[in-house]
């Protein structure tokens, strides 16, 4: 275990040091970034950095290096600041050149605005929130070992305080606490038992934050820190809704809030003076104790947020030992894991193995490419035949939640459809993007529960929401509302619809559930099925699903030909049975089926299997007797 790391505890010291060495030669900035990148590359180094996701903010030392696994929710306008400034030191009455990078406020002393050495620089601010819908197992199975456990003051109970209380506490006392903390920190490894008992309590948190400030989480009932991430390099490479792991310097200086307050007060007094309105103030300079600033040193885009797998962006496998073991074992016994998962899902789906098979295909689907407007690889599944108003869908969602890194269950009740804000909207008064349920990171599983729908009226919002859901499913994009125009943001969301009859929303594939089991007490049965899965088994499933989804896939020329001929052949027999759309779906099924077996190319056998599977599915789907208006 590491002892004291200056680069984690006092990164600004290193920045200032490098700045002082440079003699205002501009490449010191690069050196700083290089330095931290190097440090983080060291075998397990990045796991020592405390994570904002896991550690409550008030246990983190201000101006220390932290990491944050997050999604870019909004991008603010660029900001100019004094990269270098000169200061009159009142004590020694001497002038000093200071570096302003990675900081929010000046150090004490009078800033000399007329100094020739002032350098104006530019930085970009992103508003980041924790990845929406991240499953519980995700944050607790996390790779972060450096969970800060202050030996003295950590009482799990205090976990439950609302943010209101938090910020009353942590202006001044926090700094006093810091001393104690730094010595007590990085004890690392918490025994797994602790983690597991903690998990359910986390869930029972009061989800609503009583604060007047809306932290703008995409999903209702979300919690966790939101962060203003200041980006100094390459900000154009980041896109909205990107998943990132940010390593940066935490800035929670209470002086920030005071300055902000003052400006707010002054702008009330004289509207000409402040450039921003009160609403903007509130959004763009929230109290640091509530929304900390994070000055980015290094960010790693995340392809997936499954902590059990090494992030594929890192060249070296830097996963902890346990992870690597998991991974290799999963790849080795892929076939058996698939079989086990199939059995498990079959049990969950009341004995319908075909539906279980399709559910696996759905869970590993992924938009791998876009051709013009056409997203390829999406596989929206409509599981029809789900009993109306029964705990079945809820349990099914729980099972999926246990399997995927992030997910969200949207009950399509009329109330929800008419009242929920799904499409993000630009609020020009506060100058921010007000989030909506459909602002989700890539590969999130969206579980639409149509069994909750009842007859009634949809109002304007409801109609818009239905349209947005339809667009999301058909084109994998969401049109954000910018008031004067709409803007299209493409996404990659796995949509699963459970419904009684066929869904009113479009889908790529409809599977009708034919239960073979009829347990007397459905709820008891389903809970029992879930409990029967030991955590290690679940971890295997999780890794399996993430790995299968990320596999590459090709079709050889030979198979291409065979498929083409097959299609023509099928059309000859009965043109009605096979349309272009069917071929699309068949190829999708074949792709996912191959991937689910760990094969990254389509074989003749795989093609035949896909055809059989489809034939079976179609034969089990209740025939459409007439056109009801839900045709694609």
């Amino acid at each position: 275990m590491p002892t004291v790391h200056d680069w984690i505890n006092n990164p600004l010291g290193i920045v200032d040091g490098l700045f002082a060495q440079s003699n205002s030669c501009p490449d010191w900035e690069k050196k700083v970034v290089e330095y931290f990148k190097e440090k983080l590359k060291l075998n397990d180094a990045h796991t020592w950095v405390p994570s904002l996701n896991d550690v409550p903010l008030h246990y983190l030392k201000p101006n220390s290096l932290v990491k944050f696994r997050c999604m870019v929710q909004d991008m603010f306008d660029p900001e100019f600041f004094m990269g270098v400034y000169e200061m009159n030191d009142p004590t020694s009455n001497s002038k000093q050149v200071k570096c302003g990078k990675y900081k929010d406020i000046t150090e004490g002393g009078q800033v000399d605005f007329n100094s020739r050495s002032t350098v104006t620089s530019e930085r970009q601010t992103f508003y980041c929130v924790p990845i929406p819908g991240e499953s519980q197992w995700n944050s607790f199975a996390g790779t972060s070992q450096a969970r800060v456990v202050p030996s003295t003051s950590y009482v799990p109970n205090r976990h439950k305080r609302s943010y209101e209380e938090d910020d009353e506490m942590d202006t001044q006392p926090q700094q006093m606490k810091d001393g104690a903390q730094s010595s007590a920190e990085s004890h690392g490894n918490i025994e797994p038992k602790r983690q597991e008992t903690e998990a359910p309590s986390h869930d029972s948190f009061p989800s609503h934050c009583t604060s007047s400030l809306d932290l703008n989480f995409p999903l209702p009932g979300e919690k966790g820190p939101a962060c203003l991430v200041k980006v100094y390099e390459d900000w154009d490479s980041f896109k909205l809704n990107d998943m990132l792991e940010v390593f940066g310097i935490l800035s929670v200086d209470p002086a920030l809030s005071v300055i902000a307050d003052e400006r707010e007060a002054s702008s009330l007094l004289d509207p000409t003076e402040g450039m921003e309105t009160v609403e903007e103030q509130r959004v763009h300079s929230p109290p640091a104790s509530l929304v900390p600033r994070l000055h980015m040193l290094y960010a790693q885009p995340l392809v997936h947020n499954n902590p059990l797998l090494p992030s594929s962006c890192v060249k070296k496998p830097v996963a902890t030992r346990t992870c690597t073991i998991h991974l290799s074992s999963v790849l080795g016994e892929l076939a058996s894991i698939r079989a086990e998962l199939l059995t498990y899902l079959t049990h969950v789906l009341l004995g319908d193995s075909l539906a279980a098979e399709y559910l696996i295909l759905h869970l590993i689907s992924n938009v791998y490419s876009r051709r013009d407007v056409l997203p390829l690889g999406k596989f929206t599944l409509n599981l029809s035949g789900c009993p109306h108003s029964s705990p079945f869908t809820e349990h099914l969602y729980k099972v999926i939640q246990q399997l995927v890194p992030s997910s969200y269950r949207l009950c399509m009740s009329l109330h929800n459809m008419n009242n929920q804000r799904m499409v993000p909207r630009k609020d020009y008064t506060a100058n921010r993007l007000v989030s909506g349920t459909l602002q989700l990171a890539n590969n999130t599983s969206l579980f639409l529960d149509e069994t909750q729908l009842e007859q009634g009226q949809l109002d304007a919002t409801g109609v818009r929401n239905i349209t947005a859901l339809g667009n999301l499913i058909s084109w994998q994009k969401v049109d954000y509302d910018f008031n004067y125009h709409q803007m299209e943001f493409s996404c990659n969301i796995n949509v699963l619809i459970t419904s009684e009859g066929r869904s009113l929303l479009p889908s790529d594939c409809q599977v009708h559930l034919w239960p073979t089991l009829n347990p007397p007490n459905l709820e008891e049965y389903l809970s029992a099925v879930q409990v029967a899965q030991v955590p290690s088994q679940l971890n295997k499933y999780r890794i399996y699903l993430s790995v299968a989804r990320a596999l590459n896939y090709t079709i050889s020329d030979e198979i291409t030909k065979a498929v083409e001929e097959d299609f023509v052949e099928m059309r000859k027999d009965d043109p009605q049975s096979m349309s272009a759309e069917d071929l699309h779906r068949l190829l999708d099924v074949a792709r996912l089926l191959s991937l689910s077996h760990g094969q990254n190319t389509l074989s003749r056998d795989g093609w035949m299997k896909a055809k059989q599977l489809e034939a079976l599915r179609i034969s089990q789907t209740p025939q459409q007797k007439c056109v009801n208006g839900n045709e694609p």
Binding site: P78, I105, Q172, L256, G456, S503, K572, S579, A580
Partner: protein, 818 residues
């Protein structure tokens, strides 16, 4: 750096530093104003300056290109040191105005620069731009009310009562640093004399990056713009404007200047233990402040943005071809010119527009013409006739209808994509209804947005509520839409082209029925569509292969394999340019139109061969619109017969493509004089065709052998088979061509398995000869080569089939259709 430093000085202290460069600039600028002459030799800005006498005027607009013309160096200085010299330029205007008119001495004047050559994107505004003159464009998203801003204050020293005039104010209230009375040392106690101060109108607006400039996946950036003097109230929220001015950083001085002077009022600080508040106070006293600045764009001139290419304004009323051309860069213009010279433009545009959709060329052409549009006209009575072309695609499910619509939405500016199922023009609500039997939920009607000046893509048009179809009907013909809400009837402009897709009534297109019977649409609405296309999921080996190839390709290869002759931007630019043409119909074309129309009408009324619907004046109008669009496509100022011809062909194709009846070979050879070249495909729907057959049977019962008739699909199949074979042979050996007899023999051999008796063989042979005859003489798919040098020339009217055995080649222009 220097610039910034200078600015702070001015901003903080309000000190007037003597600035030689600026003074020189002022002098030169005044000279420019005095001397610059327009083409006729008059001083250009003199009359403008005299206008400034009027009390409401205070801004002189100067064209920047004139300055560049007059003195390049002056222009460069203004551009680079704009913020620094701005005050001096305004002063020059004041001198100029005062020299030429009786103007109160205290009046402030401002200068505004129009025609600034280059334009920056909001995203490109960086620290380098601070202080220099730039032009940016953006969409105004928020405006604040106008209020007066103190420009220059007159203060009264409370100690010695002396008056201090002209204290410059920079974004904040600035008191004099020290009383100017040398014996008075007052630095703090001053009173502002508002009656002697000068104010200027001041307004803040916020602008946002336009969609076209935005990198995909990013949030548009915005910037606060400060408008002063006459520039206020010129921009409204939603407008797209160009702003000329400079980026400034406003130092956040309040934190320093007011440190410690104001009691803590904020709730966040109060209620805490005393030492805390003191601690923070202490920090502040030390001058702790934020490192960031406030940013703003100080604009002197606002102008509406010209339509940008690739931007969202394909249509602008007061545009001319010339003005559009002027806004293009040289390369862009060259490309447009090159495109207009392209002989194969029509085809190339079609393929470039829908690279991923296979086949369906006629639909592509129709949509292309829709994008070009016809000319809107107003009759002498004041009735306006629409120029927009409406297209409807009817087709079996999963025949890429939606893809067409989606493509258009993606491509065309201001396009709206909506689904008829969830859309309603009348109400904004929809009902969820559950089907008791199947437990399926169904949605009925919702909100429909109609984009003015755009394309409205309506999927599932047939699912639309009847009353909404009526609203659409109004939109299609009157180009307005009426909304009645809370007793108020509003009529909105909806000059929009409609691209609709509809499913046939039974889910699949029934060939046995007419178009009207196949779709759930009222006749008046149907007649408002200029073009109807029918997409049938035809079973045909050639097509199937092509479809399979396309789909498998899509799935198999990850690389972009889309081939386009022209890029989307090029086409958008071209269409914008071409749309400026208002082609007039030539007398020649006029006659041609009349001829064609007469023929359509005659056939329509002729009883035996009726068209799918009655040909009325609407079809004539459609034909004109399509011809105009065709002329526009070629950037032609007049509609020529060739344009009409294509329009006519398309109109024909569109109405009855699948309705092609059975082909009756006997009849054809008889009346090939009356049936034109389009005869093969222009015909009534099967119902009527049956009538015709019956009539015929009565006339010549002997000739009407069943074998001599074949369905159109069968005919197509045979012809494709022949053409494929011929093409294959031609590829194998380029020199040799097939003889007609060889071809017939080959065909019969192919059919061997189906032929049982000799009689059948003869019938087949007879049939294939007829098919060939038709392919050669009506459809012109196969060309006959008669070797004139070797054999005697066949005379006119002779049946070549009997006489010779000519070589046959496939028409090089023929593309296998699917």
């Amino acid at each position: 750096m220097d610039r910034l430093h200078w600015k702070f000085e001015a901003a903080l202290a309000g000190v007037q530093v003597r600035d030689e460069l600026s003074e020189k600039c002022q002098k030169l600028f005044l000279e420019f104003l005095e001397e610059f002459q327009d083409k006729t030799g008059d001083a250009l800005y003199l009359s403008d300056a005299q206008e400034l006498i009027r009390p409401e005027r205070n801004t002189l607009t100067v064209s920047f290109s004139n300055i560049e013309h007059y003195n390049q160096q002056l222009a460069t200085t203004i551009q680079e040191e704009y913020y620094r010299v701005y005050q001096y330029l305004c002063r020059a205007v004041r001198h100029f105005a005062r020299d030429h008119g009786n103007i109160p001495p205290s009046k402030e004047f401002y200068v505004a620069f129009s025609d600034f050559p280059s334009r920056q994107k909001i995203r490109e505004l960086s620290t380098v731009r601070i202080g220099s003159l730039v032009r940016i464009s953006g969409q105004v998203v928020r405006t604040h009310p106008v209020h007066p801003e103190l420009v220059s204050g007159t203060f009264l020293c409370l100690d010695c009562q002396s008056v201090i005039k002209d204290v410059e104010q920079q974004f904040k209230y600035t008191q004099p640093t020290i009383c100017k009375n040398p014996v008075c040392a007052n630095r703090r106690r001053f009173m502002l004399d508002t009656n002697k101060c000068r104010f200027v109108d001041f307004q803040k607006v916020r602008i946002q990056e336009t969609q076209a400039e935005l990198p995909r996946g990013s949030i548009p950036r915005s910037v606060e713009v400060i408008l002063r003097a006459e520039a206020v109230e010129t921009a409204q929220a939603g407008d797209r404007c160009d702003f000329t001015g400079t980026l400034i950083v406003v130092p956040d001085v309040s934190a320093m200047a007011l440190a410690g002077t104001r009691a803590e009022t904020s709730s966040r600080v109060t209620g805490k233990e005393g030492f805390e508040a003191d601690g923070i106070q202490g920090l502040k006293a030390l001058g702790v402040r934020e490192l960031s600045y406030r940013l703003a764009f100080l604009a002197n001139h606002v102008a509406p943005t010209n339509p940008r290419f690739g931007g969202k304004e394909l249509r602008q009323e007061d545009q001319t071809a010339e003005s559009v051309k002027n806004q293009m860069t040289v390369q862009e213009w060259e490309k447009v010119f090159e495109m207009s010279q392209d002989k194969n433009l029509y085809h190339n545009l079609c393929t470039s527009l829908f690279p991923t959709i296979h086949g369906n060329d006629e639909i592509k052409r129709g949509i292309l013409l829709m994008l070009f549009g016809g000319v809107a006209k107003t009759t002498m009575e004041g009735t306006s006739l629409r120029g927009d072309i409406n297209v409807c695609i009817v087709g079996d499910p999963s025949t890429s209808k939606s893809q067409f619509l989606k493509h258009v939405e993606d491509f065309a500016p201001r396009a709206v994509y909506t689904s008829g199922k969830a859309s309603s023009a009348a109400g904004l609500t929809a009902a969820v209804v559950k089907d008791e039997e199947s437990h399926e939920f169904v949605i009925e009607a919702g909100a429909l947005m109609l984009a003015d000046n755009g394309v409205c893509c309506i999927d599932e048009f047939d699912k639309m509520d009847l009353k909404d179809q009526v609203a659409i009907h109004e939109a299609m013909e009157q180009q307005t839409i009426s909304i009645t809400k809370a007793g108020v009837k509003a009529t909105l402009n909806a000059r929009t082209s409609i691209l609709a897709a509809a499913n046939p009534i039974d889910g699949r297109y029934n060939r046995a029925k007419s178009l009207k019977q196949n779709i759930n649409m009222s006749a008046p609405i149907m007649s408002r569509f200029d073009l109807f296309f029918i997409l049938v999921d035809e079973c045909n080996e050639v097509t199937d292969y092509a479809i399979a190839r396309r789909i498998v390709d899509l799935h198999a290869r990850n690389i972009e394999s889309v081939e386009r002759v022209y890029s989307t931007e090029e086409i958008q630019r071209y269409i914008l340019f071409a749309r400026q043409f208002q082609p007039k119909i030539t007398s020649e074309a006029q006659e041609f139109v009349v001829d064609q129309y007469k023929r359509l009408r005659q056939r329509d009324g002729g009883g035996t061969t009726k068209s799918a619907w009655r040909i009325t004046v609407r079809q004539l109008e459609s034909m004109l619109r399509l011809s105009e669009a065709m002329a526009r496509l070629y950037c032609s100022d007049e509609v020529q017969p060739k344009h009409v011809k294509e329009a006519f062909r398309l109109l024909n194709k569109s109405i009855i493509r699948v309705d092609s009846p059975d082909i009756n070979f006997d009849q054809e050879q008889d009346d090939n004089k009356t049936e034109g070249q389009n005869g093969a495909e222009v015909n009534g729907h099967p119902g009527e065709a049956m009538d015709a057959d019956e009539v015929e049977k009565q006339e010549k019962p002997a000739a009407a052998k069943p074998a001599l008739r074949m369905s159109f699909a069968e005919y197509k199949r045979v012809s494709n088979l022949l053409v494929l074979h011929m093409q294959k042979m031609e590829q194998l050996d380029e020199e040799s061509s097939l003889k007609k007899s060889e071809l017939i023999n080959w065909y019969l051999k192919e059919m061997e398995s189906e032929i049982d008796s000799e009689a059948e063989l003869i019938a087949k042979k007879n049939l294939i000869e007829k098919v060939l005859y038709r392919l050669i003489h009506y459809d012109h798919i196969i060309i006959e080569l008669t070797k004139t040098g070797l054999k005697k020339i066949s005379e006119d009217g002779d049946e070549p089939v009997v006489e010779e055995d000519p070589f046959l080649v496939v028409n090089p222009n023929y593309i296998l259709e699917d």
